[in-house]
């Protein structure tokens, strides 16, 4: 029994984050009702305050450097800008959100190798960033509408889609692992070894990253206000890579954690325990997606 203790601890830790409320929009430009209320509890964290202060300083330096670069267009400041944008993305993703929780659930419910895990993290960040780029360019050049006003609606719709996709994917994981647990002989896992090895990361990356990244949107708009569309694209890419690095750190340590914990389980029990953890993770993902998809649908349609 004590060998199952680490698995129980990890799973309990994983369940904690699912407590929360719906996503936020810019309070200055979102109409009332499209936002959440002040949430409730747990722990004090001076770490959060530090992240916020660093983010503020980085953003300020970033905007100053963008201005400098646009005034003389030298190569040196551009390199510094790219490095800063990368750091801004990394710190930005260290704060809450950005799909890190879903990414960890993915690791628990699948069996991704380390390179696949890193690729998954980068895919989430790139989709998140590209979604912001497409949103800005689409609204500005194609639809020619106010980005700040319209983006609030776009974010609501993409959040609804994101939560819906997460719910569907979670349900899929739940069913797949339930089949592996209860109908082992007929399970796809035995028919095709590695079927849940987690090689197809794109559906997950799209589900998690489809909501436009507000940081990318703001940097893009700032650059475009100085006729720097290409610079905006370059910095958006750097921010996405920075975010990807932070998410990769989370995913790789989660893979190491899962591997270490499962090693304590004997070979016979390994698959049963893995399937049970995967099933519960799938259930948690599905519940999470459904929990947030419903209010998101309500906001969009009512």
């Amino acid at each position: 029994m004590k060998r199952l203790l680490p698995i129980v601890i990890v799973f309990m830790l994983l369940l904690l984050p699912w407590v929360g409320s719906a996503g936020a929009g810019n309070p200055f430009t979102s109409k009332p009702g499209a936002r959440h209320v002040t949430p409730e509890p747990p722990i004090q964290s001076p770490f959060v305050m530090k992240i916020v202060v660093w983010q503020h300083r980085l953003q300020q330096t970033l905007s100053d450097l963008i201005r400098d670069f646009k005034s003389d267009e030298r190569f040196g400041p551009l390199m510094a800008l790219m490095g800063l944008a990368f750091a801004y993305g990394a710190i930005h993703a260290a704060g809450p959100g950005h799909g890190k929780v879903v990414a960890m659930s993915y690791v628990l419910s699948h069996r991704p190798s380390m390179p696949v895990g890193v690729a998954f993290a980068l895919c989430i960040a790139m989709v998140h960033g590209v979604s912001g780029i497409v949103g800005v360019i689409g609204l500005r050049f194609v639809i020619q509408r106010s980005v700040s006003q319209t983006l609030a609606s776009v974010t609501e719709i993409t959040q609804m889609i994101s939560f819906g996709l997460i719910a569907i994917l979670g349900l899929g994981v739940l069913v797949k692992h339930a089949a592996a647990l209860f109908f082992r002989k007929k399970s796809p896992q035995e028919k095709k070894k590695g079927a849940i090895a987690g090689k197809n990361v794109w559906p997950w990356a799209i589900a998690v990253g489809v909501v436009p990244c507000p940081a990318v949107v703001m940097v893009m708009l700032f650059c475009m206000s100085m006729d720097g569309l290409l610079l905006g694209l370059l910095l958006a890419l750097c921010i996405s890579l920075g975010m990807g690095t932070t998410i990769s750190l989370v995913v790789t340590t989660a893979i190491l954690g899962k591997t270490g914990v499962l090693r304590s389980v004997s070979g016979k029990r390994f698959e049963t325990v893995e399937a049970a953890v995967g099933m519960l993770s799938g259930a948690a993902i599905a519940a999470f997606g459904a929990l947030f998809c419903i209010p998101a649908i309500h906001h969009v349609f009512y």
């Binding site: 407590v19 996503g23 936020a24 810019n26």
Partner: protein, 211 residues
Amino acid sequence: MQWPLNKAAWLGLVCAAFSMAVGVPFPLLSKANAHPHVFIVQRLNLVFDVKGLAGIKVRWKMDDMFASMVAEDHDQNRNGTLEPDEVQSVKENAFIFIEEFNFFTFIKIDNRPFQIKFIRNFNATLENGRLVYEFLIPCHVTATDAYKKVSVSTYDPSYYTAIFFAKNNPVSLTAADAFELKTTIREDPDTKIYFDMIHPWTLFMEFRKKA
């Protein structure tokens, strides 16, 4: 004594805990966009009249990226400044919605919450790409011989916006000569925001009639 878990399991738990610490710093995280994306540096001006406190004039310097977004949408003639009709557009489309959040200003008078019903004199200025919002919160507190306590916390409950006091001259006074005042700015231990992880910076003020 035998350890309850083997080395691999311990290593796994340490890694899992680390990934939780970075990935899930706090039990909240489903809130996709809640961490701050807009940054404000604020200055407060406490305005007095003959009776006592008359109101609080708030001055918010918005971050450059938010400023460029607002300029892009509301500086219709692209002259780098905001004319009265553009200020009205900013007020209606990039300010008034925060009324729902008490204009991010949470006042307590003798520890009792004060509900802001309206604000006055909203103005937005844009100079060299720097955007500043200014508005007056009417808040009348009559001075007596005993100290009256007023606290002003400024925060966005959703934490999409982070508000900092300016380093230099964060608080100024207008027509306060007739009163004895004590002010201090510190974190308010009784108020917690953002999943109870942050105590907002708060102006604490005590004032009374001069003897």
